[in-house]
């Protein structure tokens, strides 16, 4: 071993290998940045504990909230607006952390629920994940198409819409948990309530994407505004259909007596008494 370390050629080889690894790393970084905008993704995952708690609370009880506009991030030198503040500093900013985590929780929860009925099969996880992704993709495509048809100047990011379509999983998780713990008509109440809450949340949040100019008071402006408000209400109402699709294959699994919530992630177990 010492002979290798003293050998000049070996030293050269080590150096060369090190630089090759560095070059490879740089290459990957450069190409990854070309296809995926990493700084932008970091913006969406820049969350804090208090933000996540407050956001979940807002998603379940959105009716008391007064302030819905996003805070603008200003450049320190000029004072011009250069974007929006990250979710850590702004409750109304969309984030990707909650959608990703709640989607994974939803997939696992469906697995647990089917496991309590002794109907678990590994395929269920894949099928559920595929269905969840398909519903999200479908919703984003529909919103994009609607924005095109209604001539909404779409400066909104694609990822923003992904965030907003992912928030419905919170309501679905609560519905699933409640249905497993307290069977009966409570499930229906919780199902409609959570959908109402998420629909209301989307109505207020998407307003700033779909209705950018509130000051346009011309005749055509009013006409466009009416169409866009209809579009907003349709999106909010569609949440009910999407939730129904996402919960549809679990309706048939009836409830067992032993509590499956013990296996659920602790964050959501704590939430159950609040609903």
């Amino acid at each position: 071993m010492a002979a290798i370390q003293n050998n000049q050629a070996a030293q050269l080889g080590f150096q060369f290998a090190g630089s090759a690894v560095n070059a490879g790393h740089e290459y990957v970084e450069k190409n990854l940045n070309r296809y995926i905008n990493l700084p932008m993704l970091r913006h969406y995952f820049n969350v804090s504990n208090s933000y996540v708690l407050k956001k979940i609370q807002l998603l379940l009880f959105p009716f008391g909230q007064k302030q819905w506009t996003r805070l603008a991030l200003r450049s320190e030198q000029t004072g011009h607006t250069i974007g929006y503040k990250p979710p850590r500093e702004d409750l109304n900013s969309p984030d990707l952390y909650i959608p990703v985590m709640s989607m994974i929780t939803y997939v696992l929860l469906v697995g647990i629920v089917s496991g309590t009925k002794h109907m678990f099969h590994p395929e269920i996880l894949g099928l559920t994940a595929s269905k969840a992704l398909a519903v999200m993709l479908f919703e984003v495509v529909v919103i994009k198409l609607g924005c095109y048809l209604l001539n909404v100047s779409s400066e909104s990011q694609f990822l923003d819409l992904v965030c907003y379509s992912g928030y419905k999983f919170i309501g679905i998780i609560v519905t699933l948990l409640v249905r497993t713990l307290i069977p009966g008509w409570t499930t229906w109440f919780v199902f409609f309530y959570t959908n109402l809450a998420v629909g209301f949340f989307l109505l207020r949040s998407l307003r700033h994407i779909v209705l950018p100019d509130t000051s346009a008071a011309t005749a055509t402006g009013v006409h466009h505004r009416k169409h866009r408000i209809h579009f907003l209400f349709i999106i909010a109402a569609c949440q009910l259909i999407f939730s129904w699709i996402l919960l549809s294959n679990t309706w048939s699994l009836s409830v067992s007596s032993d509590s499956p919530a013990a296996a659920a992630p602790p964050r959501f177990r704590k939430m159950v008494p609040r609903v």
Binding site: L127, S130, K131, L133, A134, V135, L137, F138, V141, Y148, L149, L150, N151, A219, T220, H223, H224, H227, I245, N249
Partner: protein
């Protein structure tokens, strides 16, 4: 079961449905042909105008790719469906 594969088929079938609309035989009869568009239009019909543009764009751009994708789906369905 609504899943990613179903969504892909849904999109493909919808694109096919738009692509088979005939310019003279169908679209011009209901006044949705791109050739009939005059220079001016009133603002109330903007949604219709955009749909017409979308249809003509799909018909023009996606005709050749749709042939390939459709034949691949047909072969897949014959062998593995």
């Amino acid at each position: 079961m609504f899943a990613l594969g179903t969504l892909f088929y849904l999109g493909l079938m919808l694109l096919n449905a738009v692509a088979v609309l005939h310019e003279q035989r169908f679209l011009s009869k209901i006044g949705w042909s791109i050739e009939q568009l005059s220079g001016f239009h009133d603002a109330n019909q903007e949604v219709k105008l955009r749909i017409i543009h979308l249809i003509s764009a799909i018909r023009m751009l996606l005709r050749i790719p749709l042939i390939f994708v459709n034949s691949m789906v047909i072969i897949y369905e014959i062998i593995l469906g």
